[in-house]
């Protein structure tokens, strides 16, 4: 039977391909304007660069001298994100230590003047003004700093959980009628012959990678927001990949088991790049590398080589990093605009929309580049373009309407008291879910055992695990980890993965053995991500953990391991 005669399961205005921050951002924007949207994500929401970033919506200070408009836009958008999801942000004060010496004395004046300029933009994102510090101040604020320093400067940025940001955008889009398909890979984009029944010009066919089911959607417009996968996606719509060229840049972060410093600290790598140590959520993170990437985008992993490069650079100002306990790494691939020649670091972080009308594919657009901090305005730009034809009277409201959970503040301490939780558990729950934390805790009234802690490191309650499976499209243990940070703490999921798999199997009506298989797969993936950062003490711990896993769960088949 010809493809087009079969009934389409779905007919929408716009199909968005990619569940990163740009894809979910566009889906939300369009859904708020009353358009019907279907979003397809090959892996999970925030699987790529969005969920593996430095976790900051920074103001783009580095563009200040060349292109102050970019800085202004980043700061303004950062301010909007604070308005729509205040619960999801935490302040990260930065510190730039300056080495002593004649050069340092000049440098600190320049840095001071530079941040004087940056201060003008800080009100846009509710940031504090910069402060100049003496060497004594530095020693007091960060006793871990070493080396002979002339002083330093502080400035203010905001941390965000990039995965939650994507999930909340997708959730809001869903609540306004959008359909979101995760683990569903688009296999082809067909142009439907003119005059066919139905309004859509395109037919998008996608396959669910978990159950093999086929999804089909007719759409008037297709948005390719698949980041580094962009060229591959474009080819499915018969657009030459060269029209959506990105220069994939791998970025690596290493996470440590606690907050090692009060301030984020800037440092310089051996090749003169700016790297940093930042307190982020309940841990410290160092980052980041930027290297051209030629590997598989579905399987990006940090290497010990990259970890050592970062540790070396940070240790020059903060030597304790060498003995700190790394608990994991994450790696993502930036979809940077393609240019041949410049060093990775010199590439523009700007974004661009490619209209494929010129390629014989009108109403297919590709979004390339961009940053976490300005995803909202990039999404607005894309949506404005689409809405020009489809919903000209509706304007963007993504900067005014709050994301799910952002409507009112909740006091975590009161919640902890009323639900007999530890204050930490309550605080973390509110950080992730805002006012929706109440709904999650509401589950406990019906089933008291849901107040038990599944993941003691984070901590994550059973109620939250069930909630994200039911309401936030989590299908695997890895998905739950992305949404709740379950299993990403010091124990690497040893204590919680099996239980989490069990819950997922229960909620999804899968055989219990499938839950265990998922748990094994998660543990193997996490171990692979962790192994590059192993220090001696941790090697011991890992070795024991392996024995534990063997004794209770079994190592499973070769197939699980090879994933």
């Amino acid at each position: 039977m010809p493809l087009d005669d079969r009934p389409s399961t779905l007919s929408v205005d716009v199909v968005v391909i990619g569940g990163g921050v740009n894809g979910t951002g566009v889906a939300r924007d369009l859904a708020l304007r009353g358009l019907s949207v279907a979003l397809f994500e090959r892996n999970d929401l925030a699987f790529g660069a969005s969920g593996n970033s430095s976790g900051m919506i920074h103001g783009g200070a580095r563009y200040l001298t060349q292109n102050p408009n970019v800085t202004a836009e980043s700061c303004r958008d950062s301010g909007y994100i604070q308005q729509i999801a205040p619960f999801l942000l935490h302040r990260i004060p930065f510190l730039v230590p300056v080495k002593a010496g004649a050069k340092g004395r000049v440098l600190i004046e320049l840095i001071d003047a530079f941040f004087e300029l940056y201060d003008r933009y800080q009100p846009l994102k509710r940031g504090e003004r910069h402060t100049r510090l003496s060497a004594q101040d530095l020693a007091k604020l960060e006793p871990g700093l070493r080396g002979s320093l002339v002083g330093g400067v502080t400035f203010d940025e905001w941390g965000v959980d990039g995965s939650r940001l994507c999930v909340l955008n997708a959730l809001d889009a869903k609540e306004r009628g959008a359909k979101v398909f995760v683990h569903t890979s688009v296999e082809s984009i067909h142009k439907r012959p003119a005059g066919m029944a139905g309004a859509g010009r395109y037919l998008v066919v996608a396959r669910n990678l978990l159950d093999g089911g086929i999804e089909r959607a007719e759409a008037k417009v297709v948005v390719n927001a698949s980041g580094a996968w962009g060229p591959l996606t474009a080819a499915l719509g018969h657009v030459a990949s060269s029209r959506v060229r990105v220069r994939p840049g791998k970025g690596v972060h290493v996470a440590f088991d606690r907050r090692l410093s009060n301030y984020a600290i800037m440092a310089e790598s051996i090749d003169g790049r700016q790297i940093f140590l930042e307190p982020w959520q309940n841990m410290s993170v160092i980052g980041t590398t930027d290297d051209d990437y030629y590997g598989d985008l579905d399987d990006v992993c940090a290497t010990s080589d990259e970890v050592r490069y970062l540790v070396q650079g940070i240790a020059r100002v903060f030597p304790e990093i060498r003995t700190a306990r790394a608990i994991g790494t994450w790696a993502g691939v930036r979809p940077t605009l393609h240019t041949y020649g410049p060093l990775e670091d010199k590439l523009s972080r700007e974004h661009m929309i490619v209209d494929h009308a010129e390629d014989g594919a009108p109403d297919i657009y590709s979004m390339i580049g961009g940053k976490l901090a300005s995803y909202r305005s990039f999404s607005q730009e894309m949506s404005d373009r689409i809405a020009r034809d489809l919903a000209p009277s509706r304007h963007c409201t993504t900067h005014e309407r709050t994301l799910p959970g952002g409507d009112r503040p909740l006091d975590p301490l009161l919640l902890a008291e009323s639900h007999e939780l530890t204050p930490v558990a309550a605080r973390r729950l509110v950080f992730r879910h805002g006012s929706r934390a109440e709904a999650i805790l509401g589950r406990i009234a019906a089933r008291p055992r849901e107040c038990t802690v599944v993941c003691p490191c984070e901590p994550v309650l059973e109620a939250e695990v069930r909630h994200v499976v039911r309401e936030e499209d989590a299908f695997t243990v890895d998905d739950v980890a992305r949404r709740t940070r379950l299993g990403l703490g010091a124990c690497g999921g040893m204590r919680c993965a099996a239980r989490c798999g069990q819950i997922i199997a229960e909620e999804r009506g899968l055989p219990p053995q499938e839950g265990l298989r998922q748990a094994r797969r998660f543990l193997h993936t996490q171990a692979k991500r962790r192994v590059a950062a192993l220090n001696p003490d941790q090697a011991r711990q890992e070795s024991l953990a392996l024995q534990v896993m063997d004794a209770t769960l079994g190592r499973g088949s070769r197939e699980d391991e090879d994933r």
């Binding site: 060498r322 040893m494 053995q513 090697a539 011991r540 070795s543 209770t552």
Partner: protein, 390 residues
């Protein structure tokens, strides 16, 4: 003849036991119980996925494990784990429930209790779908028998709850609850709360009547605590402390300054996981850009006359100032990581390694036990030859 055994885990215990049985005068130096106390209580000669292991336990091994309170069955025992897998084993902690001896179609009850690591309903479903349970028609059922007695117990770790049941009043209370439940099941599968002393479970079993036992749990499980109790009862005389040096004259110095002269020494100090072998790549201690000295990344925790190696190769000068790349050494990239295979490759005459400290040895509790017995016997034989030649 005087044998010094270093190490308080199962390999050291076995070596001390073998040497004592052979009539030696044993000085047993115990620092910690290492990885042994973290063992879950169900043991096999090879990792349990590589079943079966047909060799039988030696009679010495059988008498030791029986003395330590373990049960060695003729066929494999089948044990439930707390995540819902049924696994076979050759030898088990007596407190674990052996599903293998239950009749076909047996009804096994799991009490419902609000505890993070015990969801009876999910566990019953998962166990019920295990191939072994399906084959034998075992039925797992969650039942309402509240076995928390006091407030706050939902947040206590298993080990603390096990300790509470050492009290006679508490274990009698538990037994009464289980006994009163109708209809009585064919067996009870309980959380790992059945005491930190071997006698607690016997008392509860006696009071309930029906077969009952624990499921294997994540460490710290009471199984390790029971091992330590049984070991200490078996060997009341021990030297508590850590060894600093074993010289080529077979002199053993402890960190507290004691010195023992031995006719033979057994090193059962553990592998990379808990003790014996240290992994110290240069970068871990790096202050500046490059290390001042470059040493192999692995070392034995004590200063003894041995050669360390893996895969039958001694560890040579490293090829990197920073140390080896962890992803080339460690789990999960290889099924048996290099890291785990590093250990004592050869030792001078009179020093016998046992347990995880032996290079390339399979890393199971039971194989550690057997290597301990062998090392103990070999040490005695060496000491005997030595006294003959004198």
């Amino acid at each position: 003849m005087k044998i010094v055994v270093v190490g308080g885990g199962i390999a050291g215990t076995a070596a001390a036991y073998a040497a004592r049985s052979a009539g030696a005068d044993v000085v047993w130096i115990v620092g910690t119980s290492g990885a042994t106390v973290l063992a879950p209580g169900a043991f096999d000669l090879t990792p349990w996925q590589d079943r079966p292991s047909p060799e039988d336990l030696t009679s010495v091994a059988k008498s030791l494990v029986t003395a330590l309170g373990y049960v060695a069955a003729d066929g494999p025992a089948w044990i439930a784990t707390s995540v819902g897998v049924v696994r076979p084993c050759r030898l088990r902690d007596a407190a674990l429930l052996d599903l293998g001896v239950l009749p076909r179609g047996a009804r096994i009850a799991l009490p419902r209790v609000v505890h993070a690591e015990w969801d009876a309903d999910a566990l019953a479903r998962t166990l019920g779908s295990d191939p072994y349970a399906l084959e034998r028609g075992l039925r797992f059922e969650a039942v309402d028998v509240p076995i928390h007695r006091f407030g706050g117990e939902r947040d206590l770790p298993h080990l603390a709850l096990a300790a509470r049941h050492d009290a006679e009043g508490r274990s009698a209370w538990l037994a009464a609850r289980l006994r009163a439940h109708t209809p009585a099941p064919d067996a009870w599968l309980l959380p790992p709360w059945l005491g930190t002393r071997p006698e607690t479970v016997a008392r509860i079993r006696g009071a309930v009547g029906a077969p009952l036992g624990e499921a294997i749990s994540l460490p710290p499980s009471p199984s390790g605590a029971r091992f330590r109790q049984a070991r200490d009862a078996l060997f009341p005389a021990r030297v508590e402390g850590f060894v600093k040096r074993v010289t080529s004259e077979l002199r053993v110095d402890t960190e507290t300054g004691e010195t023992f002269d031995a006719d033979a020494v057994v090193l059962a100090t553990g592998g990379i996981a808990v003790g014996g072998v240290y992994y110290t790549p240069a970068e871990a201690t790096l202050a500046g850009e490059l290390p001042t000295t470059v040493t192999p990344a692995f070392a034995l925790g004590i200063d003894a006359e041995v050669t360390l190696g893996e895969s039958g190769r001694p560890l040579l000068q490293p090829g990197s100032a920073q140390g080896p790349q962890p992803e080339h050494l460690a789990w999960p990239h290889r099924r048996t990581p290099v890291l785990e295979r590093v250990g004592v490759l050869s030792a001078q005459a009179g020093i016998y390694p046992a347990g995880d400290v032996v290079a390339d040895a399979p890393r199971t509790w039971l194989s550690a036990l057997e290597s301990g017995l062998r090392a103990g016997a070999a040490a005695c034989a060496f000491a005997a030859r030595l006294s003959e030649s004198r």
